[in-house]
């Protein structure tokens, strides 16, 4: 059933469009850099001054730019739609009487959303690598620590960074999944999830609530960049992934207890 769900979801025009848009973001940035010559050293988002020297950085700029807004936006669409979308189509009742099993269905939805998170990260990287390779020279990669590594190792780290960026969305996806079990209106679930991302960003900028900053699920979203250090600095990434795991546990459990007992009227 997992395969059927994945095939069905990735066949949707909406999902294809979301991934395409994500891939287009770094491509668009690469074109901009190519046309304008790019900012001088040290200006603009991280990595952007490097793009014209090495196309691989288009992927990393893409990730840097996508992580705060575009990536969470698309993941919120998928997570918010997961259960509420089935409910609003009416397909939820037919899945449940087959019987798909409520726990099984929820788990499959969770895995599908997680797969989308990773696919979303990879789409950004793929779009960036492709555009970078077409528009700029490729070569040995200068890390943030000013050492150089081979192109192959650089691509490897870029793809890993994409996966880490995708996995950073897991906590938010779990919240979205939970909200999705509360309603039959997918748009409501999507908006509420995005709302929480915005709320986190706001809280993150308020120094009076500094105590909770380390626990905001958005806190370490940029930690994927640490993969471009030499040697790789894992503390931020580990903290990020553990935090996502904690959010997944809490909101996954909430979604499960809600979904396995709820009256399905849709």
């Amino acid at each position: 059933m997992l395969v059927a769900e994945l095939v069905s979801q990735f066949r949707r025009r909406r999902v294809k469009a979301l991934l395409l848009v994500l891939a287009a973001i770094p491509a668009l940035l690469a074109v901009l850099v190519r046309v304008t010559g790019g900012p001088s050293n040290g200006n603009g988002p991280t990595f952007v001054d490097q793009v014209s020297h090495n196309g691989i950085f288009a992927a990393l700029v893409g990730l840097t730019v996508s992580v705060p807004v575009f990536l969470p936006l698309t993941v919120a669409v998928m997570a918010g739609d997961s259960i509420a979308g089935e409910a609003s189509l009416g397909t939820l009742r037919y899945l449940l009487v087959r019987p798909a099993g409520r726990s099984r269905l929820l788990l499959i939805k969770a895995v599908t959303v997680a797969a989308f998170c990773l696919a979303a990260g990879l789409a950004v990287a793929a779009g960036g690598l492709l555009a970078g390779a077409v528009l700029f020279p490729l070569g040995r990669v200068t890390t943030l620590s000013a050492t150089t590594i081979s192109l192959g190792a650089g691509i490897e780290r870029t793809l890993l960074a994409a996966l880490v960026a995708g996995a950073s969305m897991f906590g938010m996806a779990a919240i979205g999944l939970f909200i999705s079990t509360l309603t039959d209106v997918p748009v409501g679930a999507m908006a509420a999830t995005i709302g929480l991302v915005v709320l986190c960003a706001v809280l993150d900028s308020v120094s009076q609530v500094q105590a909770i900053h380390p626990w905001l699920f958005t806190q370490n979203w940029s930690s994927f960049a640490d993969l471009l250090r030499d040697p790789v600095r894992w503390t931020g990434i580990t903290h990020d992934l553990l935090l996502q795991l904690a959010y997944m546990a809490v909101f996954g459990a909430a979604a499960w207890s809600r979904f396995t007992t709820k009256d399905v009227l849709a």
């Binding site: 059933m1 189509l89 009742r93 037919y94 009487v97 399905v264």
Partner: protein, 314 residues
């Protein structure tokens, strides 16, 4: 072909489902014999669909219990639901998938959806509901009747012991309605119990062996269709030129609700025999052109049970 053993496909006792202050289903005892075609009738808002949702484990009952083939629901859902095909409140599919892809999706969701036989079973189900030609078309391009047919096909992907069909011919043309009726009868002959919720009384009258009438969350009547019709009052219909003389005789005999329409007169029989009425009419010098008794239609019985009001009950 109702089994004599008295085994039930569906059995509820004191089943109740409350939404806030309203009891949508108010303590019903339903008994659907194995092998029957059971018509589940009721006006809009009477609680039919809520009952079906509780039966299939989509809603938790507030009180009471229900069993499918003797097994308690919703506890036995994983065992019993694969043997139940259902059409609940209209079809629902993924608009971006084709008819065949949609069926594959739901078959994959079932615990017994064997992948090796899937394609063959999908073909067979589509043929059965006459949808083969549209199998490769996207669901969003389907008409209402085609959607309904796909819903039925989905219910028929596996051999089922019970089919729960909620308004299965909704949106279908007369030809389609007829096909579905034949399909239901064919499935019943193969031993499938059919639980048919409908407000199309003529449809129920034509195919059902048993019937229950629900209103305001309660079951008002439940029996074989023959028994139910026997409970309603018969009417005597006489065609004659002398309708006024006939009316006098009718009154003398104690027939009530006498209605005159041109050269025909009808009256409600309350125990009087048609033969005696005929003799009385002739003796009174009324020239009788024809005399018949009219059995109440299911519609008459239904209206008598649920009240004539057209408005939704609540």
């Amino acid at each position: 072909m109702v089994e004599p053993s008295g085994a039930t496909a569906i059995e509820t006792s004191g089943l109740r489902k409350q939404f806030g202050p309203v009891a949508a289903v108010d303590g019903i005892d339903l008994r659907v014999p194995v092998g029957s075609i059971f018509g589940f009738l009721g006006p809009n808002g009477s609680g039919k669909t809520t009952t079906i949702r509780v039966l299939l484990g989509l809603l938790n009952p507030t009180a009471g219990s229900c069993r499918l083939f003797g097994q308690p629901m919703p506890e036995a859902a994983p065992d019993i639901l694969p043997k139940v095909g259902a059409l609940i409140e209209g079809p629902a599919f993924y608009p971006w998938l084709t008819g065949a892809q949609n069926l594959a999706r739901f078959d994959a969701a079932a615990p017994d959806g064997d992948r090796r036989t899937r394609a063959a079973r999908i073909d067979q189900a589509l043929t059965r509901v006459g949808l083969t030609a549209a199998a490769a078309r996207k669901y969003k391009a389907y008409s209402l009747g085609m959607r309904q047919r796909l819903g039925l096909a989905s219910a028929l992907l596996q051999p089922r012991r019970l089919l729960v069909l909620d308004e299965p011919t909704n949106g279908m043309d007369p030809q389609g309605t007829r096909e579905i009726r034949h399909l239901i009868q064919e499935l019943s002959r193969d031993g499938t119990t059919v639980f048919l919720s409908s407000h199309l009384l003529s449809e129920v009258e034509q195919v059902c062996t048993h019937v229950a009438v629900m209103s305001l969350g309660k079951i008002l009547a439940q029996s074989t269709i023959v028994e139910l019709q026997a409970t309603g009052a018969r009417r005597l219909a006489v065609e004659t030129v002398q309708v006024n003389d006939a009316a006098t005789v009718f009154e003398r005999l104690g027939l009530t609700e006498v209605k005159i329409d041109g050269e025909s007169i009808t009256g409600r029989l309350d125990g009087q025999q048609a033969e005696d009425c005929c003799r009385a009419l002739v003796e009174a010098g009324v020239g009788v052109r024809s005399l018949t008794t009219i059995r109440p239609t299911l519609e008459d019985t239904f209206v008598a049970l649920t009240g004539e009001g057209f408005d939704v009950a609540r």
